[in-house]
Symmetry: none
Subunit: 297 residues, 5 copies
C-alpha cells in the first residue's frame, strides 16, 4: 500500500493549499481522500445520459445528492454553477469545469474550448477549476496554448487546477487506444509536467497492447499499472474516473486498487446518478468504505 501524498509535501502555494485543505479535510470523510461528483455529461454527451434516471437531469437533484452522499465536491459547467450553486454555496465545494464541448462533431482533432475563466471560479467561490487536456491529438499545440493561460491564472489566483488528462485522437487509437496503460500513463505524466495540481485519469488497461510502445508490451497486472500511473503523476494528486456505467463490484475493486496505489480519490458520475436515488447512496456508501481505509494526515 502506497500512502496518499500529504498536502504539505506537494509544493503548493498558500491559496492552493488552503483550498485543497478545505476540499480534503473539511468535506467528505475529512481524512484527506476525495470523492467527487462530475456533472458535465449534459454537455459532453447530451441529455441522453439522463434517460436511465430522469431525475438526474435536474442539476438541483444532483447538488443535493452530492450533499447527501458526503461528496468532497461537484464539478459542473458555468451555466449550472451560475444558476444552481448559490443555494448551496459553501456547503459542498465547487469545481468549476472551465472547458467542455458536445460530442457531436468528430473527435479526430479534439479540442475542448473554454467556457469560463479562473476569475469566474473565484467570483463563484469555487475551490478548484477543471480543465480537459486531450493528450496526443493533432490539436495538441492549440490545447497546450489554451491550457497555459488557464494554468497561469490558476497560479496567480491560488486556485487548484484539476486536469482531466484524456488521451485522444487517431494516433492514440493506433497506439493501444485511450484506455491503454501506455496512453493513461503518458497522459498522467503530461498533466504533471504541465503543472496540474490534481490529475483525473481513467483506470488503465494493461491488456490493451496493440501498437503501444515497447515497454508497455509486457504483462502487467491492473494493480501494477495503476501503481505506475500514480507514480507518473508524482506530486499531482490522482483521481480515478469512473467512466461509463459498469458493474458495481468491478467499480469498487477498481476503486480499491486505485487507493492502494496512492490515489487521492475517485470522481464517479454516471455510475452514481444513473440509478435510482437510494441506490445511488448505497453505491456511494460502498465507495466511502474504501476511502475510509486510506486516510492521509
Amino acid at each position: 500500500m502506497t500512502s496518499i501524498k500529504p498536502l504539505r509535501d506537494l509544493g503548493l502555494s498558500t491559496g492552493k493549499k488552503a483550498r485543497l485543505h478545505r476540499i480534503l479535510y473539511q468535506h467528505g470523510l475529512r481524512n484527506g481522500t476525495a470523492l467527487f461528483l462530475p456533472y458535465d455529461q449534459g454537455l459532453e454527451h447530451g441529455p441522453r445520459d439522463f434517460f436511465a434516471n430522469p431525475a438526474a437531469g435536474d442539476p438541483n437533484y444532483i447538488v443535493k445528492l452530492a450533499l447527501e452522499g458526503g461528496f468532497n465536491g461537484i464539478a459542473i459547467q458555468i451555466g449550472l454553477a451560475e444558476k444552481f450553486y448559490w443555494e448551496y454555496a459553501g456547503e459542498v465545494p465547487l469545481i468549476l469545469k472551465l472547458n467542455g464541448k458536445t460530442d457531436i462533431p468528430s473527435d479526430d482533432a479534439a479540442l475542448s474550448p473554454l467556457n469560463a475563466t479562473v476569475e469566474e471560479a473565484v467570483r463563484l467561490g469555487a475551490d478548484a477549476v477543471g480543465y480537459t487536456l486531450y493528450v496526443g491529438t493533432p490539436a495538441q499545440e492549440h490545447d497546450f496554448a489554451q491550457y497555459l493561460a488557464v494554468r497561469r491564472d490558476a497560479q496567480r489566483l491560488g486556485m487548484p487546477l484539476v486536469v482531466w488528462a484524456y488521451p485522444r485522437g487517431a494516433a492514440i487509437e493506433a497506439k493501444g487506444g485511450k484506455d491503454s496503460f501506455y496512453a493513461v500513463d503518458y497522459a498522467a505524466r503530461t498533466a504533471s509536467e504541465l503543472g496540474a495540481d490534481v490529475v483525473k485519469v481513467n483506470f488503465p488497461h494493461p491488456e490493451k497492447r496493440t501498437g503501444v510502445k515497447a515497454p508497455y508490451e509486457g504483462e502487467f497486472s491492473s494493480q501494477s499499472a495503476i501503481d505506475a500511473v500514480v507514480r507518473s503523476a508524482n506530486r499531482s494528486l490522482v483521481l480515478i474516473s469512473g467512466g461509463g456505467r459498469a458493474g458495481d463490484d468491478a467499480m469498487v475493486e477498481k476503486a480499491r486498487q486505485s487507493m492502494e496505489a496512492g490515489a487521492t480519490g475517485l470522481i464517479f458520475g454516471r455510475n452514481v446518478w444513473q440509478r435510482e436515488h437510494d441506490e445511488s447512496l448505497r453505491f456511494v456508501a460502498r465507495l466511502r468504505d474504501i476511502l475510509a481505509k486510506y486516510p492521509s494526515h
Copy 2:
C-alpha cells in the same frame, strides 16, 4: 401542465432580474409569458423573405406591428436598432441580436459572427441580447470561444442572454437532422450548461430518428419531446421558435404544447409578418390567447 419557471428561482443577478422583469411583467400580457418578434431574416435569408408581404421589408412597419400586437420584445440587428429603435425606445423591449450572417456560403461549419457588443446593447437601452450558438458544427470551438466573451460581458453588465440554440453541421445532418428530438434536446441542454438565461429552440420532431443516439430511437409524442426539452433547459427560460411559415392551426397547437411543457413563450417572425397587417394581428391574438392561459406569478 408544468408551470413556467418564476424569475425568483432562476439564480439571476439583480440586473438580469430587473430587465427580465420588465420584459415579462411590464409588456405583453404582463403575466410572465412572452411573445417576441424576431426580425433578422433580412440578414439571415435576405430580402426574399419579404416578398410575401413587401411592407414587412420596412423595419418601421415591424416595430409598429410589435407595439400593436403587444409583443414583449423585438429582436433585431445593430443596424436596425441604431436607425429605427430611437422612435419607440422604451415602448417595446429591444433584444439586440449580437451575431448573424448571410446564408450564402455553405452551412457545413457554420459560425455566426459578432456584429455588435453587449455594451452597445446597454447603450441602446436594450433589455436583452441574443446570440446564435450553432451546436455540433466543426466550428464549435470557435463558437464557444466567441460566446464566452459575450456571456462574460452579459454577466458583468447584468444583461439577460438569449441563446438561439441551433443544431447545425454535417454531423447533425447524419444524426437525425437539426429538428430531431435528439438535436433540439442536446442544443437546449448545451445552452443551459453554457449559461443562457433564455434558450430559443425549434420545436422538436421525435419522428426524425435516423442516426440519432439510442435513447432517442423510441416512440415519443411531440408533447413528451417538448416536455423533455424544457426540462433539459432547467433554469434557462425556453422560447419556442416559429421557424418558417406553416399552417396556423399547427403553429397554435405547437404553441399550446410548448406552454403546457413549461416554456415561457414564443418567438414568431415569418408566421407573423409574412401576411397582411390585420391578418398578422389576428394570428397574434390567437397566440396571446394561448399565453393568457399560462400565467406565472
Copy 3:
C-alpha cells in the same frame, strides 16, 4: 432578542455567500455566529502591545491560538499572511486586512493606506478582506475613493468585505467622541450604505453626549444603543470590537448585549492575547458560551 440575520436573506452574491458560509458554518461553533481574532496591532500600535505577553509578539503563537480557541477567522496584514499562513492554510479562515498604518503621526486627518489588494487575498485563499474606514475625518473623500476600488474588486471576485467602521478626526472628537452612540451609529450606517458585507464597530457609549446631534442627547440604555446600531447596519452583519484590554465581566456583558441585539459575533484581540496562554483560552470559552446561545440557521 433579535435574531442574527441569516445568510440567505442578505442579498449576497454566490461567492460572498460561499465564503461567509465557510466562516460561519464550517468553523468556530458552526452555528452562524463568529469569533474573530484581529492581529494587526503590531502595525497599528507597535510592538508595545506585546509587552503584556511577549509570546503574543510571535504571529505563529497567535495563529495557533486561533486554532486552539476555535476562532472563525484571523485578521492579519499581508506580511504576516505571506509568511505565516501557509502552514495553517485552510484550517482557520484568513481575513486579509487590506489597509493599515502606524499610530506615530497625528490622527487628525487619519487615512489608512492600502497595503494589499483583494486579488492578493484571493491568491492566499482568504475568505474575506478587511478595510478600515475612518468615518468623519477631513480625509474622508480620499478614504471613500480608496474604498470604492476595494469594494468593486471584492464584488468582482465574490470576496466578503468587512469594514472596520471607525469614527475619527477632530470633528468627531467635538461631537461626542469616537465611542459615542451618535458616532458608532453613524459609522455603522455609513458602512452599510457603502456596501460593507460585515461591519465591525466599537460598542456604543450612549452616555457620551457632549456635542452629539440632538436625537442622541436623550437617555439610552446600552442595550437600546447597540440594538439601534445593529439595525443601522441592516443587511450588513455586525461584529463588535473588543478594543483595548478591559475587565472580563464587562467584556462578556458587552458581548451578551451585542448578541442579544442581533450582532453576528465578536472580534476580540488584545482582550484575548494580552494574557497568558491558558488564561486566554479560558476567556475565549466564556465568549463561546455567549455565542452558543445565539445560533442562526
Copy 4:
C-alpha cells in the same frame, strides 16, 4: 544566543528562496550570514561622504572592494548599476536600491521616491531590491501606497525585498528620536507586517526615552533591545545598519550583539569605505570573524 532564521522556515516563494540562497550560501562566508556594502550615500548625502577617502567616490573602486572583502552583495542605485555592474555581473550579488533622495530639503514629511523598478532589477540580474520606508512621517500614506506596488512586483517576480525601515519625521523626533528602542522596534515590526523579506534597521538605543510610549520607558540593555527588535521582525531577516562612521570597537561590539540576537548580518558602508583601502579590508575582516561564529544551516 538566538539562532539565525533558516531560509526554509520563512514562508518564501521559490524565486525569493533561490535568490536569498545565492546571496547567503554562495557568496561571503557561505554560512547563511551576510555582509552587505551599501553605496547610495552619493545620492542620500552627496559627495561630501567621499571626502574622507576620495577613492571611494569611484563606484568601480567600491565594487572591487566588495569583491575583495568577500561581501554578500552591494546595494546601489540604478545609474551606477547600469554603468558599473556589467563588468562584475554575477560575481557579487546586486541589491538594486529602488528609491532614494537627496537630503537637501527638509525631512519633516520625508518620502523616498522611486528611481527604478523591480523589473529593472530583474533585467540587471539583481538578487534583491531595496526600498526605504520612512516609518511615522506625515507622508506615511503615500509611502505605503508606493511601497505596495513595489512589494507586489517583488512578489510576482520572486525578488527578495529588503526594507530600509527608518523612523522619521516630527512625531518620531518628539517620541524618542529615530534611534530610540521604541522607534526602531516599531519600524522593524512595521516592515515585517508589510511583507519585507529582509529588514534593515539601525541599532536601537534604549537610553533614548524622552517621549517614548510607556512600555519603552524602562531600563533595557542594548542586548535586550536588539533581541526584541529581531523578534519584532519575526520571519523577516534582519540586517543591522552601520550608520555614520563610529569607533571600530564599538561597531564590532554592536555587530556581535546583533548576531547574538539572531540577526542575519550587517550592512556597513561608511564605516567600511571612509578609510584607506587596506584599512577597510582589515575592518571587514573583523566583521567576518564575528559572522563566522553565527552560521545557519
Copy 5:
C-alpha cells in the same frame, strides 16, 4: 584546440551575463564549462523512458542527482519546477524549459507549444530558459513567431536563452536526416542568427550525406564537423546533446571532440539517469574529467 568563448566577449547584457556567470562559474567545475541535466523526457517521450531505471521517474531523485553529480543546471518543465524546485532553490541552477510536447501525434509539421513564460522563469529564480526550435519544418513560420515573443521577453528580463536547435520534418528527412552534418550545422547557425545565447545541438554525422546540399557531400571527420558547427554558432555558446542511450566510450569521445571544438559543455539526460544511481555518478565523473581539461577564464 579551440578555446571556449569567454562571457565578456559575447555581447551579453548585464542580466544575461550575471546569470550565465552564476551557471558557469558558481556551479559545476566553476571553470566556465557546463554539464546540464535535461529532464523533460516524461513529456517528450512519456514515462517509458523511466522503465530502465524506475527511480528516475521521480523528479526529486533527479534534482538530487544533479546536486550530487555537480551539474551546472537542470532543465525541466514548469510543472516539475513548481512542485520540486523549491526545496533545492538556488542550490542548482534552473533552466526552465518553456515549450514541449508529447510524441504521440505525427512529427511532420512539428511545433513545440509554449507551456510557460520567461516571466515565470524569473518568478521561480531560474537562471536561463530553454526553447525547442524545430528547424526546417512546415510549421517554421509559427515556430519563429512564437520564438520571437520568447526572445524579446528574455531580452527584456536579462534571461539567457538556450535554444534546442533541432532539425525536423519531412524536408529534413529527405536531406540527410536530423543528425546530418548539413542539418545540425544549419540548425546551429539558425539559432545563432535568431539570437540564442546558448545553442543545444546533437552531435553532427558527416557520413549522412544522402540528399544534403553539395558542400556537405564531401568527406568530413567528425572533429571537423563539430568544429564547423561550433563556428556556425559563433557567439552563441554551444551545448552538445547526449540524445538516446548509447555506449559510454562513444559518448565520452563525442564529449571530448565537442570540447576540443570549443563547445561550452554537455547536456546529457538519458545517458546519465537510465542506469543505476552510482553508475550514473561514475559516468558523470568521466564527463567532468573531460570538462576539467577545457577551462575558460
